[in-house]
Symmetry: C2
Subunit: 217 residues, 2 copies
C-alpha cells in the first residue's frame, strides 16, 4: 500500500462551516497532549487529523509544530498572568496574600485550556523559541512578585534581603510544585498547596531575617 489511504476523516464529524482558526488547531493539539506526551512527539498530521483538516492546511496557520507550541505557551502565560492579577485584586484581608495567589495558580491547572499544565511539563525541553517563551513567562512572574515584595517592605517595615533572588526562588518553587500537582487528582492538591505556602513563608521569613542581620552589622 504505497499510495495514500482515502480516509483521513475529521474527528469532529459535524458539518462545519469551513474556516478553521489557529485556536482550533491549538485546542486539538492540547487534547492530544492530555496524557503524558511531549509536544515534540506530536506530528503535524496527527494534529491536523484531530482538528479535522487536511495535513497541508496546517501550514496556513503555523509554520511548524514548534510554532504552534510557542503559541500555546504564550496563551498559557497570558491567562496565568490574568488569573494571578485578578487574585491579587481580590486580595481580601481575611486570607493571606500568599495562599490566595498559590491557590489561584493551582486552580489554573485545570482551567478550560490546560495549557499551564503543558508549560509546566515542558519548561526545559523543546526548541529554543519554546524555552524562550517559557522564560519570558517566568520572568513576568518574578518581576511582579519582586515589585510586590519591595512595596510590602515599605508598608510593613520588613525589608527583604535580596528581593530579586527571593522572587526567583519563590517563582521556581511555585512552578515546580505546580508541575507536581498537575499530575495529581485534584483532591490531593490541597496538600501541595499547603506545602507550597509554607515553603514560601520560609523563604520570605528567611529573606527578612537575613536583611535584618545585614542591617545590624
Amino acid at each position: 500500500m504505497n499510495s495514500e489511504k482515502k480516509i483521513e476523516t475529521a474527528a469532529s464529524a459535524g458539518k462545519r462551516k469551513k474556516p478553521i482558526t489557529a485556536q482550533d488547531l491549538m485546542n486539538a493539539a492540547v487534547k492530544l497532549l492530555d496524557s503524558h506526551r511531549s509536544v515534540s512527539s506530536l506530528s503535524l498530521r496527527e494534529i491536523a487529523r484531530a482538528a479535522g483538516i487536511a495535513p497541508n492546511s496546517f501550514y496556513r496557520h503555523f509554520r511548524d509544530v514548534d510554532d504552534l507550541a510557542v503559541a500555546l505557551i504564550d496563551q498559557a502565560g497570558r491567562s496565568l498572568r490574568g488569573v494571578i492579577r485578578e487574585a491579587r485584586q481580590r486580595l481580601s484581608l481575611e486570607r493571606s496574600a500568599i495562599r490566595t495567589s498559590v491557590e489561584a495558580f493551582m486552580e489554573q491547572l485545570d482551567a478550560e485550556q490546560k495549557t499551564l499544565h503543558i508549560l509546566l511539563r515542558e519548561m526545559s525541553i523543546g526548541s529554543p523559541a519554546f524555552r524562550q517563551a517559557v522564560d519570558r513567562e517566568l520572568r513576568f512572574f518574578e518581576d511582579e512578585l519582586c515589585e510586590e515584595l519591595t512595596r510590602m517592605a515599605k508598608v510593613t517595615g520588613h525589608a527583604t534581603y535580596e528581593p530579586a533572588l527571593a522572587s526567583k526562588a519563590i517563582t521556581r518553587l511555585v512552578f515546580t510544585m505546580g508541575a507536581a500537582a498537575a499530575d495529581l487528582p485534584p483532591e490531593e492538591r490541597g496538600q501541595i498547596i499547603d506545602e507550597t505556602v509554607v515553603m514560601i513563608k520560609m523563604i520570605m521569613e528567611g529573606a527578612q531575617s537575613l536583611a535584618k542581620r545585614a542591617a545590624e552589622k
Copy 2:
C-alpha cells in the same frame, strides 16, 4: 523505493568484537540527546544506528525506548547520589556545606555521562515508569537532606521548623536551578551556583526563624 535500503551503517566505524552491551546503547542514546531533544522523540532505529547494530538487536537489551530511558534515569540517580555523598565527606571546614554540595551537584551536570542533564530536563514528562524513577531519586535526595538538617539541629541548637518540608523545598530548588544551569555555558554557571546557595540559605534561615517563633509561643 518500497524495500529497505542496504546501508544502516555503524556509527562507530571500528572493527568491534561483536557483543554490544546495554550500556553501549545507553551511551548512544545519550549522544543523540545532546542538544535539546526529548527522549520521547528518539526512535529505536535511530539509537540502534548510532550504536552500530541492527534495529532488531535493540530488543536483546531493552523492551522499549522507554525501558532504556528508565535505565538512564537510574544511572543518573546512582551517580548523582555518589557524588553528593562524596562531597559531604570531604566537607572540610573551610567551605560551607551548602556551597560544597551545590557545587558538586552542578559539576555533575557535565560529567562523562550527561545523564543528570537528561533527568533534569525530562523530570515531568515521559512514561509513568520514567517519572516514577525520577521521583525515586528526588526522594532519596530529600531524605538524606532531611536527616542532615535534624542532625545539624542537635549540634548547633538551631532547630528547623519543618525539616521535611524545608528539605523538599531545597531539593526542588536545586533541581530546578540545575535545569536552568544545564543549558548554560559553564562559565555562566557560577552565578547560578551563587544564587542557589543564597536561596538555600534563605530557606534554612527562614525555617530556623519559624521554629524559634513557634517555640516562643
